[in-house]
C-alpha cells in the first residue's frame, strides 16, 4: 500500500493541538456507544408515558431514535469530524503541518483508522467497507434463498424473513451505490484528472466516516423487531412496523448526508481541478460516469432524506404525513421515494459502465468508439432519469392518466442506453482482444445488461406491468441491471485498478474461476427467477404455491454457486493483497494519468502537475 513520502520539508508537527492526534476510530466507537447509552437512559426516564388517548404510541420510538442520534453525535465527535468547523469558527485554521498530519503523513497503517483526508486512504477505506457491506448482504441473500428452497418456507419465521429481505435490499443498494464511486472514484479519479487531492479532503473523510456511522443502526434493527417493509419502506406499513424501522430511518438519513457531501466534493473536484490541458474532450469517460452518478445523486438523495425524516416524525411524534387517519397519504411517500429511487439506479449503473468503457480501449488496443456518443448517452440518461419515477407506480392508481406520459419517458431511456451499447461493441469490433477478467467482464455486461434492458422494456409498458408488477420478474430484472451490470463492472474495476491500489496483481487464476462461477451462477439463478415471476410468484414472499417450487430450486442452486465464486474472489483479494505478484507501475500499458505515477502513489500524487495534450485513447495510431 501507499507509503507517505511527501515533501521532506517541515516534518515537525510542533504547532499541532494534541487532540487531533488522539482521535481515531476507537475513540469514535467508544464515545458513540457511551452517548447512545446515556441518551437511551435519559430518554427512558424523562419522556412521559403514552396515554390511551394517543392513537399512535410514540415513547418507544422516541427512545430508540434518540439513542441512535446519540450514537451518531458521539461517533462524529469521536472521529474528529467537528474539529475543522470549530477551528474555522474560532478563526484558528489548520496549519499546513496539521493538514499534512490529517492527510496521513508518516502515519503508516494508523491512517486507515483515522479521519484521514488523503484520497488514496479514503479509497482503500471505502474498498474494505464495501466488501464488508456486500458480505453482510450476501449472507442475508443466502438465508433468503435457503428459506425459499421449499414452498412452505417455515425455516425462518415470516417476521425474521421480512426483516432479512428488507435489510438485504437496502444494504445491497447502499453497497452498490458506493462500490465504484467510493473505492475507485476516490482513489483513482483525482490521479486520473491530474490533481493532488480532492477539492475538499476533509469532506472526503467525512463522507466515508458517515457511512461507517450509518451501519450500526441498520444492523441493530434486527434486534429491534426487524423491518417488515422491504427496502422501499412503503408507508403506512413502515409506521406500523416494529422499532427496527427506526434503525432503517437513521441509516438512510446518515447515508443521504454522506452521499450529498461526496457528490458536492467529487463534482467540484472534477469541474475545478483537472490538469492543465485536460479539456472536456480529453477527460476520460470513467470521470464522466462518476460525475454523472454523483451529480444525479446530489438532488435525488435529499428527497429520500426528507421522506425518512417524515417517517420518523410519523412514528415518533405522531404526525400524519402518511397516516390516512390523519389526512396523510401513502402515495406521497411513493412519489418522494421514487423521485430518488429511479435516479438512484443510474447512480449505481453509470460508474460501472463508465469504468468498463474506460477499460475497453485498453484491452482492445484501439480508440474508444465515438467518445461523443458515450458522453451524450450518459448525459441523456441523467436527464431522463429524473422524469421516469412514476413507472414504479403504474399500478398504484395514484394517477392513471399519467401512465401514458411516464411510459413515454421510460421508453425514451432505451435510446441513450442503446448509445452506450454502441460505444462498447464499436470498441470491440476488430480490436485485438486481450483476454483478461476486465475484458471478459465487458462481455458479461453486454449480455446481462441486454437481458436487464429488454425485460425493462416489458416492465415499462403499462399493460405488461399489470401482469408483472410486484412479481419475481421485477426482482430478477433489477438484479440483472444492478448485479449483472453494476457489480460486474465493480469487480472488473477491482482487478483493473488493484495493481495501482495495492502494488500487486490480483491472482489471475482465482479471479478467472470466480468470474465464471459468479456469472454462470448468476444467470442460472435469475433466469429461474424470471420464470417463476412470469408464472405469477409475488415478490418478497416467505411461502409460495407448490407450482413455483422447481424454479425456486434452480434459483437457490444458482445462488449457492454465486456464493462460492464470491468467497473465492474474497480469498483472491486478501491473498494477492498480502503476497501477490508485484505489479509494475503500468501493468496494462494504459494511457490514462493514474498509470503514469509510481506505485505506491506518493502522498500528493504528482511531484509536478502534468499537462495534458491529447485524450487517453490514442491506441492503434502507432502505425498510421
Amino acid at each position: 500500500m501507499t507509503t507517505t513520502m511527501g515533501r521532506t520539508a517541515s516534518a515537525g508537527h510542533s504547532a499541532k493541538s494534541p487532540l487531533i492526534e488522539k482521535l481515531n476510530v476507537f475513540t469514535a466507537f467508544g464515545l458513540g456507544i457511551i452517548l447512545a447509552v446515556v441518551f437511551y437512559v435519559l430518554a427512558a426516564k424523562l419522556i412521559p408515558e403514552d396515554t390511551d388517548a394517543m392513537l399512535i404510541h410514540t415513547k418507544h420510538d422516541q427512545i430508540i431514535l434518540l439513542a441512535m442520534i446519540g450514537w451518531f453525535i458521539g461517533f462524529m465527535v469521536g472521529i474528529g469530524a467537528l474539529i475543522g468547523p470549530f477551528r474555522w469558527l474560532l478563526g484558528k485554521d489548520l496549519s499546513h503541518d496539521e493538514n499534512m498530519f490529517y492527510a496521513g503523513k508518516d502515519l503508516g497503517t494508523k491512517r486507515y483508522f483515522r479521519y484521514t483526508t488523503d484520497h488514496k486512504v479514503v479509497g482503500i477505506q471505502y474498498l474494505v467497507t464495501t466488501m464488508i457491506i456486500f458480505g453482510v448482504g450476501g449472507i442475508l441473500a443466502m438465508l433468503i434463498r435457503t428459506n425459499l428452497g421449499n414452498p412452505e418456507g417455515g425455516w425462518i419465521h415470516p417476521q425474521a424473513y421480512n426483516a432479512i429481505v428488507g435489510i438485504h435490499g437496502i444494504i445491497m443498494i447502499v453497497g452498490t451505490i458506493i462500490m465504484i464511486t467510493g473505492p475507485f472514484g476516490n482513489f483513482v479519479m483525482p490521479i486520473m484528472i491530474g490533481a493532488r487531492d480532492m477539492a475538499f479532503p476533509r469532506l472526503n473523510a467525512l463522507s466515508f466516516w458517515l457511512i461507517v456511522a450509518a451501519i450500526p443502526p441498520i444492523l441493530s434493527s434486527f434486534f429491534l423487531g426487524g423491518i417488515m417493509t422491504g427496502w422501499t419502506a412503503y408507508e403506512p406499513l413502515a409506521s406500523e412496523s416494529p422499532a427496527g424501522m427506526d434503525g432503517y430511518i437513521m441509516f438512510i438519513c446518515i447515508f443521504a448526508i454522506s452521499t450529498m457531501v461526496a457528490g458536492a466534493n467529487i463534482t467540484a473536484t472534477v469541474v475545478r481541478m483537472r490538469a492543465r490541458g485536460m479539456t472536456w474532450n480529453r477527460t476520460p469517460i470513467f470521470i464522466y460516469g462518476v460525475v454523472a452518478s454523483v451529480a444525479l445523486a446530489l438532488p435525488a438523495f435529499p428527497v429520500f432524506f426528507l421522506s425518512q425524516i417524515m417517517s420518523a416524525f410519523d412514528r415518533a411524534m405522531g404526525t400524519t404525513f402518511y397516516n390516512p387517519a390523519g389526512g396523510g397519504s401513502g402515495w406521497l411517500y411513493e412519489n418522494l421515494f421514487w423521485l430518488m429511487g429511479h435516479p438512484e439506479v443510474y447512480v449505481i449503473l453509470l460508474p460501472a459502465i463508465g469504468a468498463l468503457m474506460e477499460m475497453a480501449p485498453v484491452f482492445t488496443r484501439r480508440p474508444l468508439f465515438s467518445f461523443n456518443v458515450a458522453v451524450m448517452g450518459i448525459a441523456g440518461i441523467c436527464g431522463l432519469s429524473a422524469l421516469v419515477w412514476a413507472h414504479h407506480m403504474y399500478m398504484s392508481g395514484w394517477a392513471p392518466l399519467l401512465n401514458g406520459p411516464f411510459m413515454l419517458t421510460t421508453e425514451l431511456i432505451s435510446i441513450p442506453t442503446g448509445m452506450l451499447f454502441l460505444v462498447l461493441v464499436g470498441t470491440l469490433w476488430r480490436g485485438r482482444l486481450w483476454l483478461t477478467v476486465p475484458m471478459a467482464s465487458i462481455y458479461a455486461l453486454l449480455w446481462n445488461f441486454m437481458v436487464g434492458g429488454i425485460t425493462g422494456i416489458y416492465l415499462s409498458d403499462v399493460p405488461a406491468d399489470g401482469a408483472l408488477h410486484g412479481t419475481m420478474f421485477v426482482t430478477a430484472h433489477f438484479h440483472y441491471t444492478l448485479m449483472g451490470a453494476g457489480l460486474t463492472g465493480a469487480i472488473a474495476s477491482l482487478s483493473y485498478w488493484f495493481p495501482k491500489m495495492t502494488g500487486r496483481m490480483l491472482d489471475r487464476r482465482l479471479s478467472w474461476v470466480s468470474f465464471w462461477m459468479v456469472q454462470i451462477g448468476f444467470n442460472v439463478a435469475f433466469m429461474g427467477m424470471f420464470l417463476v415471476g412470469l408464472a405469477g410468484q409475488p415478490r418478497r414472499v416467505e411461502a409460495y404455491n407448490a407450482m413455483f417450487n422447481r424454479g425456486n430450486m434452480v434459483t437457490t442452486a444458482g445462488a449457492y454457486v454465486i456464493m462460492t465464486g464470491m468467497l473465492i474472489l474474497l480469498f483472491a483479494v486478501v491473498d494477492s493483497w498480502r503476497n501477490g505478484i508485484k505489479a509494475s507501475d503500468n501493468p496494462w500499458f494504459a494511457k490514462t494519468l493514474e498509470w503514469s505515477v509510481p506505485t505506491p502513489v506518493p502522498l500528493e500524487n504528482f511531484a509536478t502537475l502534468p499537462v495534458v495534450t491529447t485524450d487517453a485513447y490514442g491506441y492503434g495510431k502507432a502505425k498510421s
Binding site: 421480512n162 422491504g230 412496523s241 387517519a325 480508440p367 399500478m395 483476454l435 410486484g470 405469477g536
Partner: protein, 255 residues
C-alpha cells in the same frame, strides 16, 4: 453497419468478416426471438381474459422487435471475440485501424432505436385503450374489494349483503373492481387475468376486466403488506351466468 468501414478500398459490406457478422446476426436474432418468445408464452400460461391475452401477445411482439438489436450486439461482440484474441501478461500489438468514431453508424443506431421506442409506445397505448374498454362497459357488474392484513374480502353491491372470501364472477361479463384497504397498502392482482391495482387505505382505486374462461383462478397480494403477506391469497371462481345467479341466491342475494 457502417462502423465496420475502414481505409481499404473494398466497400465495407463486401468484406468477409462483415458478411459473417451479418449471418451471425440473423441466426442470433431468430434464436433469441424464438426462444424468449416461447418461454414467455409458456410460463405465463393460458390467459383467462382478453387483457391477459393482449399482454402475452404484446410481450411476444416486443421480444421479436428487440431480438434483432440484441442479435446485432451479440453478433458484433462474438465476431470480434472469434477474430483476434490475445493471452498473456503483455498487451497485444496495437489494433490495425484507428476508427475513433463513425457519425453514420451513430446516426443509424440512434434513429433506429428511436423508431423502436416509438413503436413500443404506440403499441402499448393501443393495448391500454383496449384494456380500458371494460371500465366503460354499461353492463358491467361491480365488486368492492377490501384488503385487510392479510386477507381479501369481496362485496357485491348489486346484491346488498352478499360478501365472500373467494371471488365469484360470471363469465364474459365486464367486472369493475372498486379496491380499497383497511390498514396498509395491498395490491389486488388476478394472476391469470393480468389485472392489478393497489389497494390504498384512504382511497378507492378502480380496475376492470372481462373474464372469458370458466375455471378457478388466483388472487394474490402483489405488494408487501407485513407479516403474512405471502398468505394473502384467494381464489376466483369464474362460472356461467346461471351458476353465478344460483350462487348469489345461495348467499342471500336476489339475482
Amino acid at each position: 453497419m457502417s462502423q465496420t468501414q475502414t481505409q481499404d478500398k473494398a466497400p465495407w459490406w463486401k468484406r468477409k468478416d462483415v458478411k459473417e457478422t451479418a449471418i451471425l446476426w440473423v441466426i442470433l436474432s431468430v434464436l433469441l426471438g424464438g426462444i424468449a418468445g416461447e418461454v414467455i408464452a409458456r410460463s405465463m400460461g393460458a390467459p383467462a381474459s382478453e387483457t391477459m391475452a393482449n399482454t402475452i401477445r404484446m410481450m411476444k411482439v416486443f421480444t421479436w422487435v428487440s431480438a434483432p438489436v440484441a442479435g446485432l450486439v451479440g453478433a458484433i461482440a462474438l465476431k470480434s471475440l472469434l477474430q483476434k484474441r490475445h493471452y498473456g501478461d503483455t498487451p497485444p500489438a496495437e489494433s490495425d485501424h484507428e476508427i475513433a468514431n463513425s457519425p453514420k453508424a451513430a446516426a443509424v443506431w440512434i434513429v433506429t432505436s428511436g423508431l423502436l421506442c416509438l413503436f413500443a409506445l404506440v403499441f402499448g397505448m393501443i393495448v391500454m385503450q383496449e384494456d380500458a374498454k371494460s371500465l366503460q362497459a354499461p353492463n358491467a357488474i361491480h365488486v368492492n374489494v377490501t384488503g385487510q392484513q392479510w386477507l381479501w374480502n369481496f362485496d357485491y353491491p348489486d346484491n346488498a349483503g352478499v360478501r365472500s372470501h373467494d371471488l365469484y364472477l360470471p363469465v364474459d361479463r365486464p367486472v369493475i373492481f372498486n379496491v380499497s384497504a383497511k390498514d396498509v397498502k395491498h395490491s389486488f392482482w388476478i394472476v391469470q387475468m393480468g389485472v392489478k391495482v393497489d389497494a390504498n387505505p384512504g382511497y378507492i382505486t378502480q380496475t376492470a376486466v372481462t373474464p372469458n374462461k370458466i375455471g378457478v383462478f388466483d388472487v394474490r397480494c402483489a405488494e408487501l403488506c407485513g407479516l403474512l403477506h405471502a398468505y394473502m391469497q384467494s381464489q376466483v371462481h369464474v362460472v356461467s351466468q346461471a351458476d353465478y345467479d344460483a350462487w348469489i341466491k345461495s348467499q342471500g342475494g336476489r339475482a
